[in-house]
Structures are given as structure tokens and as C-alpha cells.
Symmetry: C2
Subunit: 168 residues, 2 copies
DNA sequence: TATTGTTATACTCTATAACTATA
DNA sequence: TATAGTTATAGAGTATAACAATA
């Protein structure tokens, strides 16, 4: 690596464009490594404490929020594709954390919802999820957390406009 | 995390703490889906235009910046583990984009550097990388891009303190 | 014909273990 | 003993194709 050990302010004109060719200064790289660090931390904790993976947690989180949903709805809400949702639901159903009720309005699908045990696990995982969020983002001021939400939302929309997700 | 006023139809708390139980409001989730959207866009373009993957591009970017490095140094600079670096280097060497010079100071390793063709490809990919960055982050004001850098850096450090990377 | 769910398949990414050659 | 590189292997994540049941 080159020097510039003090801060990251290389040859950046105030408010101007980033001129660096260094990998470490690319926003997509910074975004990727940060997301991976956060995700692997979360995955490790969910797995070691509850034996669930992130995909399964996402399904539980949505069901805990909306009550019941078809797999198609879960795919929309989690941004996972229908195959990933189906596998996560299978795991959760085998563990007795969700159950399938017939869908009177569409015989092709079922309505999934948390069982009593599922709600119990959900009630345990949710505080852990919030605690991890608070821990990891503790270095940010409240207004920075809100700024991050807004920024990520716009970047996601832009990336998705240019290169749409193709799931389900 | 005092009260849990969960009516099931929580709105987004304006400027305040995260009270929502909705998956879509979790910062780790937003970070993950945004990073994935950006990364898959980039991966698709690098692959279709140059036949290289992100790991290979990262190695080329570092070598283009520092001139030469051992695989161990590349692992440090890219935050990839030594196995991923080794495979990326193998692919690049087989394509004639990098070459290995003996390392006089340590017989166990070699110094990797871009070949003429490697520098040529590098000179083509770098503008593409910057163009993608500009395109994806165009929705942000310059000061928001700088804020994002700062925020990601602090979040990465925090996640890494709590759950250190274990590579090489 | 189109959609929902399901299975099979494959490719990428990541992580670990084991081995070699040097240090 | 420890480190740099290499190979093999396995675990997740992600994507497509094909199929059955239903719309």
C-alpha cells in the first residue's frame, strides 16, 4: 500500500471527486467488505445461539411481523428467490417453528405462520438482532444511522434500476 | 430498548431509535441487500466485458497500484484469504495477465506483478470500475459519498473488533 | 397459458485441513 | 516451530431449468 497513513484525505479536492486508484478507496469494495463483516458476525451468532441461518431468520422475521404469508410473499419481502425461501421454510417446518395452513384463495399455495414455539424463538431472536445492530452501529451517531438508511435505500434503488433482481 | 409498542403496524420512527420489528428496517439487512445488488451488477459487467471475476479484479487493482506483491501481501490488501488469492493469481497467471518473479528475500514466495497485457487490461478496467461507481452512487451528493466512506469504515472496524476476520 | 411450489443441478464464495518448501 | 503457498474438500449462497398442481 502507498502511504497516506494519517487520514484518508489523499489528493481529494474539498468536496471533489475521488481520484485514487486504490482498491481500498472504492465504494463498492468498502460496501462489500463491510457488509460481509457484519453478515458473518450475525450469521455466527444466530447459528451458534439458535441454530438458524440468516435466510431462516429472515423468514421468521417477516412472519413475526405480518402474521402469515405465502412463499411467494416471503420471497418478495426478503428479496430472496423462491428456491431459497422454499428451503428455509422446509427447515423451519421440520423444526416445528412454522406451520402451513391451507390457502382458501389459491389452492397452489399455503399460508405459513409461526407456531407457538416459533413465536417463542422469534421473541428471543428479535432482541438479539437488535442488540447486534446496536453493537455494530454504535460507532454512528443517530443522525448518521438515519443517513445510512437513506443512502443505502437510494443506492439499492439505483443498482436495481440498472441491473434488476431476477427472483421468483 | 425500553418500550415495545408493537401494534403490528409500526411506522418508521422519524429520526429516533429503531423501534420497528420489520426486516426491511434492519440496518444489517439493508446493508446486505444493497451490497449484493451493487456487487452482482459489478460482477456481471467485469465478467461479460473482460472475463474476470471480482477476486481477480481486486488482485489486479492492488498490483496496478503497488507494482508488485507477494500473495500474502495481496491477501492483506484485498481482505481475501490466501486460498482465494492463490486461485485468483493462478487464473491471472494462466491468462498471462500477471507473472511471478523470484523473491530474493524469501524463497517461499514470489513477487507478482502485472505483465504488459495485464497493465493494458488494468488500464481498461479501471475506467469501467470508476464509471460503475459513479453510476451506482450518482444518487448521492458528494458529501454523502464521503459520509458513506466514513460510516462504512467505522462499521467495518467495529464489526471486526467484535468478530475478527480470520484469513491467511 | 401462466403461476406456485418443489426438486435437481450447478456455480460461486468462503472456510478448513493437510501438505510442501522454506524460514 | 512457524510461515508462504498449494491443493483438496466441504459448507453456504445463488441461479436456472424442469416438473406437478392449480389458476
Amino acid at each position: 500500500m502507498a502511504d497516506t497513513k494519517n487520514t484518508g484525505e489523499v489528493g481529494v479536492a474539498a468536496g471533489g471527486d475521488m481520484e485514487s486508484d486504490r482498491l481500498a478507496d472504492f465504494l463498492p469494495y468498502q460496501l462489500s467488505v463491510t457488509s460481509n463483516a457484519v453478515s458473518s458476525l450475525i450469521a455466527e451468532r444466530y447459528q451458534s445461539r439458535f441454530g438458524i441461518k440468516i435466510a431462516e431468520w429472515r423468514v421468521m422475521a417477516v412472519l413475526g411481523d405480518v402474521g402469515s404469508a405465502t412463499q411467494r410473499k416471503l420471497a418478495e419481502a426478503t428479496l430472496m428467490d423462491k428456491v431459497a425461501v422454499n428451503r428455509a421454510c422446509k427447515v423451519l417446518a421440520d423444526r416445528g417453528l412454522i406451520e402451513r395452513e391451507p390457502n382458501a384463495r389459491d389452492g397452489r399455495s399455503h399460508l405459513l405462520e409461526l407456531t407457538g414455539e416459533g413465536r417463542s424463538i422469534h421473541a428471543e431472536v428479535m432482541p438479539l438482532a437488535k442488540a447486534i445492530e446496536a453493537e455494530v452501529f454504535a460507532a454512528l451517531k443517530p443522525e448518521e444511522r438515519e443517513a445510512l438508511r437513506s443512502i443505502l435505500s437510494r443506492v439499492f434503488d439505483q443498482a436495481n434500476t440498472v441491473h434488476p433482481i431476477k427472483h421468483s
